[in-house]
Amino acid sequence: MSATVSTDRPARPARSTQELRRIITAKIGWVACGLALALVIGPLIDIVWVVTYNGISAFSPTLFTSSTPPTGVGLWNAIEGTIVISIAAMIIAVPVGIGAGIYLSEYGNNRLGGTIRFMSDVLTGTPSIVLGYFSYICLVGALGWGLAAPAGAVTIAILIVPYLARITELALRQVPTAMREAAFALGAKEPTVVFKVILPSATSGVVTGALLALAISVGETAPLIYTAGFSNYPLDPTAPVHAFLHNQIGYLTYVIWTFIEQPDQTSHALAFAAAFLVMLFVLLINIGVRLTVRRTAGVK
């Protein structure tokens, strides 16, 4: 066997110690890099697996019909509260964020635009608990809104507006200048150009930004604890509006945080079910957005 090999090609000179060392270093290096990637992806798979497995084991129709203990053994109040807070936050944040994005992209190439961009980045980097504490002393305390949905929604809105603004700006900047010039040449005014030409051609980017912001608002906990409070009761459709505006409200992430600390299995199951719902929603939005963005980018 070895004889045939040696006749096929000329004998290779023995490797020097240095060459051997370089080859071995490279081998060890690649194995270490592969291990590192496994250690990054492994925990994600484990998180998804643990939460999905325990979440589905705890799944039952009562989750959607009954409220958190001691009121019931479900999550309905929390699901409802998360929907209310997120939608209210989006209603506040989307006009501001998209408006700011339009300004930054269309008229923001000056010092003022640069300042707004910088402040927006600072706000993005601000820890969410700092925003929550601000709302606690300002909205809940000084303005007397109390622990209730409005304070929570405004806090979340402050948190997501900078994301919306920057993503909208990026999306609008992708629209070719020629389209703006063509519209202006036809005699269109600024609002017409923005709303009939630029925004429609950047819809997918703007919607992407809004969906990502929605995912963030559903997954947040820290800014809500001292603004929205928590309630074990579902919203009462017969109650007057001011009760809704001044009563504490439940949300899913609070259930995850507090119920896993309880000693009983029922609470743990509810915490996992809540985590499963939140994670499913956040991951589906993010995967969906990424796949769509990649496909449209590929087509271009």
């Binding site: 990054v40 408006g99 700011a100 300042t115 706000l123 601000t126 820890p127 700092v130 002393i137 994670m279």
Partner: protein
């Protein structure tokens, strides 16, 4: 100059962002002003946070009504914040550098998008879900397997001792969860930079007879070093302000300096969440003001870190260095 109502409306909307930021800083500053005046510099130098006897009658010190014995020091939380983030960075940097190199060099281009998406998805998992996973999986693992193993092997060094006694909650658990959360930030930043290294640089290194690994480690990594450092500092900014995951796995050991990597800790962010309830029962309101001052300190720390990241990635320092040569 003509007034353009459309532009003016958009400008007003976008000015709401700086307005919100200024409101946050101003309100925290005004609200915590009395606490700043009361504590002075001892706020950051005194080790422990003591709300005083909030049940008995308040006393007047320096013209301010405060609970008897109140002494607000946050040194221990600054230490907890910096230590947990520093350990998290030490764990996350090698992992994300390795992962990014593997993704850019070994993984075939066809499946690279799928794998890099998985890495990016780690960043979007809500922090409370990380906390849940930490409580359910990581804490028992550290308490039963990793902690005893580390203490058995390295227990003669005091910072590694005590891993067999605790339940797993503590500095190490917090650091590992933080490391997982910030890894994608560093890894994706580095991956983008590595994929942008010019083909010529790679090919020249290969032509000199370098092994593939040497091409990466000696020709490509030095080119992306400033991007990597920028990404690391950005990740540090995220880790410093992280609240829920740390709160859930850190053991909530307020008012004790960590003595080993298994000690329970509290960070500035987690302490604010865990103590606001009891601070509210202070009739003089000084404890709530002191917590607002803590929030302000946390804001300043993260602002400085993020500004540093921006400075590093914008290449300002790079230009300075080049000019020196």
């Amino acid at each position: 100059m003509t007034i353009r109502p459309f532009r003016l409306t958009l400008l007003t909307l976008s000015l709401l962002i700086p307005a919100a930021l200024c409101a946050v800083v101003l309100f925290l500053l005004i609200f915590s002003w009395q606490a700043i005046g009361f504590s002075g510099l001892s706020f950051v130098t005194h080790e422990f946070f003591n709300m005083g006897q909030i049940d008995s009658d308040p006393v007047t010190i320096r013209g301010l009504s405060v609970p008897m014995g109140a002494d607000y020091g946050i040194f221990v939380f600054i230490a907890g914040t910096l230590l947990s983030s520093a350990i998290a960075i030490c764990i996350a940097v090698p992992l994300s550098v390795g992962a990014a190199i593997f993704l850019s060099e070994i993984v075939p281009a066809r499946i690279r998008p799928a794998l890099s998406m998985l890495v990016e998805l780690v960043a979007v998992v809500p922090s409370v879900v990380f906390g849940l996973w930490g409580v359910a999986v990581l804490v028992p693992f550290i308490g039963n397997i990793l902690g005893p193993a580390i203490s058995h092997a390295l227990g003669f060094v005091s910072i590694f001792a005590g891993g067999d006694s605790g339940g797993g909650y503590g500095l190490l658990a917090a650091a590992v969860v933080l490391a997982l959360m910030i890894t994608p930030i560093i890894a994706t930043t580095l991956l983008d930079a590595l994929l942008q290294v010019p083909k010529e640089n790679r090919e020249s290194a290969f032509a000199l007879g370098a092994t593939h690994f040497e091409v990466v480690s000696k020709a490509m990594m030095p080119m992306v070093r400033s991007t990597l450092i920028g990404g690391i500092v950005l990740a540090l900014g995220r880790a410093l302000g992280e609240t829920m995951a740390v709160l859930m796995v850190s053991g909530g050991g307020s008012n004790a300096m960590p003595t080993s990597i298994f000690s329970p800790i509290a960070t500035i962010a987690s302490f604010i969440v865990s103590q606001l309830d009891s601070a509210e029962s202070d009739p003089t309101n000084m404890a709530v003001r002191a917590l607002a001052e803590m929030a302000l300190v946390l804001f300043i720390i993260t602002l400085a870190t993020n500004a540093g990241a921006k400075l590093l990635s914008s290449g300002v320092l790079q230009n300075v260095r080049n000019r020196k040569h």
